[in-house]
């Protein structure tokens, strides 16, 4: 059964400026990245999934629950959203209290909340900083706290808003492993993102949003193969994919390892030294 079903969804704050127009999509198990330029309607789309905004027309069903009728609090049991700026949600002065805030709100008992918070903090690698003040830690560590505070609610669906912003290489690797672990636990992971290299290595399916419509929807490899369409919405395929197509490798290459493997198999036509 699909976790999220969207039928002919449209949304606008004022009729003169449509933000989303007639979108129909289904989300199954596959982890999905939503890419597109600023202003393409990505954040609005995610707010509609969370029930923070109600559709102007069309339906959004989360695990069968219609967002028109359900309250934000009940939807919060099914879908968690990690906001882009951790400072927008952290207010407690102890890491553990902050992570327990969500679970307590959706009805977990204090013991359950404490247990799931500790597990979540361990998965994000902050088990050692449980009693620190979040604002004594760095921005990337606060980002991990905001991730943990949603993971601790163990919802079926987890949505990330720009998880890799202001992260260094090690931070991105940790977030990649967290997402893989969540997908491993059978959760549906969605993300709004600009980092094309990160998507290539982490997400099975990719949606390209442009001017409130879905421009492309398909397996990441398939979507990344269509460079001209991506270019339309100012998106550049990852560097390795560009090199692969320049060198004439047949299939769309997503990662360095794939490139090396393909080259070792002798794919790609030979050229003179010129």
């Amino acid at each position: 059964m699909n976790k999220i079903e969207i039928r002919n969804l449209s949304f606008h704050y004022s009729a003169s400026e449509p933000i989303l127009s007639d979108i129909s999509l289904n989300f199954d198990q596959r982890s999905t990245a939503i890419i597109g330029q600023n202003g393409a309607g990505k954040t609005t789309f995610v707010k509609l999934l969370k029930g923070l905004l109600k559709p102007v027309s069309g339906e959004v069903l989360i695990n069968g629950l219609n967002t028109r009728d359900a309250t934000v609090a009940t939807l919060a049991r099914h879908a968690g959203l990690v906001f882009q700026n951790p400072n927008d949600q952290i207010f407690k002065n102890r890491v553990l209290d902050e992570v327990m805030f969500g679970p307590l709100n959706i009805g977990q008992t204090p013991d359950q909340a404490r247990a799931s918070a500790l597990v979540a903090l361990d998965t994000v690698g902050l088990a050692g900083k449980v009693d620190d003040n979040p604002y004594d830690l760095s921005l990337s560590e606060r980002k991990l706290i905001s991730i943990a505070s949603i993971v601790a609610m163990n919802t079926d669906i987890i949505i990330f808003d720009e998880p890799t912003i202001a992260q260094d290489h090690a931070g991105k690797e940790r977030i990649k492993s967290i997402i893989r672990a969540l997908v491993g636990q059978g959760k549906l992971v969605l993300t709004i993102i600009h980092d094309m290299d990160f998507v290539a290595e982490t997400f099975e399916r990719t949606l390209v949003f442009a001017e409130g419509r879905v421009l492309l929807d398909g397996a990441t490899r398939e979507v990344y193969g269509q460079a001209e369409v991506l270019c339309q919405s100012h998106l550049e395929p990852p560097h390795v994919t560009q090199l692969a197509s320049r060198v004439g490798l047949g299939t769309t290459v997503l990662t360095v390892d794939e490139f090396v493997a393909a080259k070792r198999r002798g794919e790609g036509e030979d050229r003179g030294a010129g």
Partner: protein
């Protein structure tokens, strides 16, 4: 005369025990484009702010060694004096808008008004800075109505208007979308072409590889290496410092190709193409 001379720079933030900078020494020439890379908390931002005098004047804390910028000793000069030699741009575009001006044009005058520059000199300086950064058409718009990329270019322009010879950029594109980042990188490239000394901290490693004359690798407050991009990114121990080499270097390492002349990996798409296209096992 060297543009920047740093000798034994040590710094400890107030209320902390360990040194953020553990005795750093290097020199930078006039017109060089220097890229700074390293993990978070490796001292990149502290170093940028030490060149500008924010370290130690703004934060106070423990300070040792010396930093000479165009002959001026940072510790013995005021930040406002240094502001006419060095410009510093930060990561978050929003907090670099003064908030006290209604149009982009007035916003660019903020620094000049503080310095007491005569009114008739302000206009030409602002117009040239806007032209250089390609934001002349936003001149009468409210600063907060700009996109991230435009706002960041406005921050650069407002510093350029004070006519420094050096510009330091601390992760200028980390919070921008691809289009905004590209706008900012092209503007920075233009500044470098005009002969400005540019120092840029950036995680987008391909950009560092493409633009930098030299790259400084920092780790836990110390300089690991300060050399050309090819030499830095051909090192095999980059992972120990939390750095991933540019894609093209990784591809070539995977295929075991090195540039026959220099024995190093290629840095750009074109160089990589030449090396890889007719390689086969």
């Amino acid at each position: 005369m060297k543009k920047i001379v740093v000798e034994g720079l040590k710094y400890r933030y107030p209320l902390t025990q360990d040194l953020a900078l553990k005795g750093i020494s290097f020199e930078i020439e006039q017109g060089e484009f220097v890229g700074i890379i390293g993990q978070n908390l490796s001292g990149k931002s502290t170093l940028c702010q030490a060149l500008m005098g924010l370290v130690p004047h703004f934060y106070k804390g423990g300070y040792g060694g010396s930093v000479l910028v165009d002959g001026l000793n940072v510790e013995r000069s005021e930040i406002c004096e240094l502001a006419q030699k060095v410009g510093l741009v930060f990561q978050n575009p929003f907090t670099q808008v003064s908030g006290s001006k209604m149009t982009v044009f007035e916003e660019l005058a903020f620094g000049l008004e503080n310095l007491g520059v005569a009114r008739d000199q302000m206009k030409p300086r602002i117009e040239s800075a806007m032209a250089l950064l390609g934001i002349s058409r936003f001149s009468q718009r409210n600063p907060f109505d700009l996109s991230g990329g435009q706002m960041q270019r406005m921050a650069i322009a407002s510093v350029i208007a004070m006519e420094p010879e050096i510009i330091v950029l601390d992760e200028p594109t980390s919070q921008l979308d691809p289009q905004g980042s590209e706008e900012v990188f092209q503007a920075i490239q233009q500044l470098s072409k005009n002969g400005m000394t540019v120092i840029m901290v950036e995680h987008k490693i391909e950009k560092i590889a493409r633009y930098s004359d030299r790259v400084m690798l920092l780790h836990q407050g110390a300089i690991v290496d300060f050399d050309t991009p090819e030499r830095i990114f051909s090192r095999d121990d980059l992972a120990d410092y939390g750095i991933e080499a540019p894609v093209f270097a990784r591809v070539c390492r995977g295929l075991g190709i090195r540039n026959p002349a220099s024995g190093l990996y290629p840095m750009t798409l074109d160089d990589a193409y030449d090396q890889v296209v007719n390689w086969h096992e």
